[in-house]
Assembly symmetry: C2
Homo-oligomer: 225 residues x 2
């Protein structure tokens, strides 16, 4: 085509591999790399070495280079990686071009913390609704997010094209809420309630249990030295 123009950026995309095979842990790290790369970028840093990224995240430079290799990006010898380019490529991998909408179920302390947390965080990932069964909370707007009653769950999920839900309800309600979310056609669930929930095979489920994390810290802290 334009062989004389086929420089580095051309090669970059030749190396690109199928992204559907990206390992779990690599996806997690890419998300974290991006967040800190954006801070570096905001401070005017143009290039970054693998060992700098590694230091921020307490991992080895090899791990960083391997992750970056997996998404097919190529840095410059002696200069490292171009921060803006790397951020853009991670975005191509992680984000859906048309964006994804998120609902938070349960507007208690955890739910409100999540709303504040995610406010304006990602352009392609927006919290567009919250749900609660406490009548006093209905209609209130936290961090730009309106709280709706749970009986409108399905309708609003469909209307607002919500594909991802975060469960932050008391543990006894988690199972019922999950069924409602499945029924409403949700595609991914992040469950913060401490009891595991059941979803059909086609829905992606991620569970995180704070109590377990604390007990794990307690165990390893007591067994150190």
């Amino acid at each position: 085509m334009f062989p004389h123009c086929a420089g580095k950026s051309f090669r970059k995309y030749q190396n690109q591999k199928k992204m559907s095979t990206l390992p779990d842990k690599t996806v997690e790290r890419l998300s974290q790399y991006r967040r800190n790369l954006l801070i570096c970028d905001a401070k005017g840093k143009e290039h970054i070495f693998s060992h700098e990224i590694a230091n921020i995240h307490h991992i080895t430079p090899v791990q960083v280079r391997r992750d970056i290799m997996l998404i097919g990006y190529t840095g410059t010898l002696r200069k490292g990686y171009n921060v803006k380019e790397l951020v853009a490529l991670i975005g191509e991998i992680l984000d859906k071009p048309e964006g994804q909408n998120v609902a938070i179920i349960g507007a208690g302390n955890l739910g409100r913390a999540l709303m504040k947390y995610f406010k304006n965080r990602r352009e392609k990932l927006s919290v567009v609704a919250a749900f609660d069964n406490n009548p006093e909370k209905i209609g209130i707007i936290y961090a730009n997010v309106e709280v709706f009653p749970i009986n409108q769950l399905k309708q609003i999920i469909i209307d607002k094209k919500i594909s991802i839900a975060i469960i932050s309800v008391p543990v006894d309600e988690a199972a019922t809420i999950t069924n409602a979310l499945v029924d409403a056609g949700i595609q991914g669930i992040l469950n913060f309630s401490p009891r595991p929930v059941n979803v059909p095979e086609h829905i992606y489920l991620e569970e995180y249990d704070m109590i377990t994390s604390l007990e794990k810290v307690a165990y390893f802290a007591k067994n150190k030295n």
Copy 2:
């Protein structure tokens, strides 16, 4: 020059060597088993099979049996595991006999959610103080936990024999707080702020980043087929 970004020099990569023979993931699962075993016990169930535990946690019975083997417990053929005995043994493994005290740093929405979450949850793991730098919050008691000013951090950690801290402060304060915690002689830290913090080798650090979890769900939800 770029104070946030990592320096150029290589630093020693801390090789988190485990002092215990129990695998990381097994510790996590034991914590979860116990929680659900306690519910079973409360319902009067005396024995439980590995496949029942497995169903609750969406894992295989083999995994359950293997974990239980690792802590040296033995069930009964045809009857399964004695619930009370298993709970007691997991307690011996995970808990410190004299108990461990916990502080929550940051009494915002997340901090308050954590206080409610952990209230009366474990006999051997008690949240005994919270800290915040907002004068209006000082002295307030959430979920039985008093909020102290951050400048009393070290004194109260020592006085109340606190060995574990949960960081739930805004991201920019996390590094300072971490240094204060290290200085106060903390043994384990659970960091919920989205930026990794640095601690010396002898302190156990666990980090959890909600934004990463959400982006991971978004990635795998969009790539599911």
